[in-house]
Amino acid sequence: MEITNEMRLMFLSKSENESFARVTAAAFISQLDPTVSELVEIKTAVSEAVSNAIIHGYDGTVGIVTLEMRLFDTKIVEISVTDSGKGIADIEKAKEPLFTTKENEERAGMGFTVMETFMDQLNVESEVGKGTRIVMKKYLDAEHT
């Protein structure tokens, strides 16, 4: 398995950048010729991870969010979203459907569930006070042309 292309994007934790990040991700991935369905799933997962970094990681403060993507010759895409925000104390709890620490702001607690459903792999690394890194993988349909 060899890396065929790679990118890194850094931006401020402003909610305006949520659409910027997912549109950029979609544009970068287009060279792997994804299906419309795959593209929608990737855009949604990126939106979830980036929103989480902004809403929970930095929680109103300004910091840097990093989006990285790696494409492999086997039509696999690896996407990571990293923040240096407040971190997650209990990762397993955070991943449970409907669990949110921002109930009063009308968050549904569904971000991690959506990422897990739309991507093939989800890995969460986090340290309280240091930050969070989300790594997701998707295996694109090799059959379709």
Binding site: S19, E41, I54, E106, A108, M110
Partner: protein, 112 residues
Amino acid sequence: MEIRFSEQERVLMIALFGELDHHNSITARERIDLKLSTGSYKKIIYSLSGLSFMDSSGIGLIANGCKTAAAIGAVVLVYTQNEKYLKMFQLAKLNELCRMIETEKELNTLWK
């Protein structure tokens, strides 16, 4: 994003257009809450057919609408044919809070 409200008798249609994410959901929620507080509705229909993107912020927005609607004694219906949105609603068990309308035919029985 854009929100269009229309009313028929005591039925309120909330049609959403554009991209519904965390950024856009903040003002959308304020506008919808304001609208719901000014009328006496028995049914509220969210139409998502004009959306070009929605993430879990859409679930939060509609779940919030369901809570507000319950407080004023109204029922909530959600119209979409988008299978990704339906998948997300199903994961969130949103169908326990409101009714999903998946066909135009069914929508037409509720809205002329």
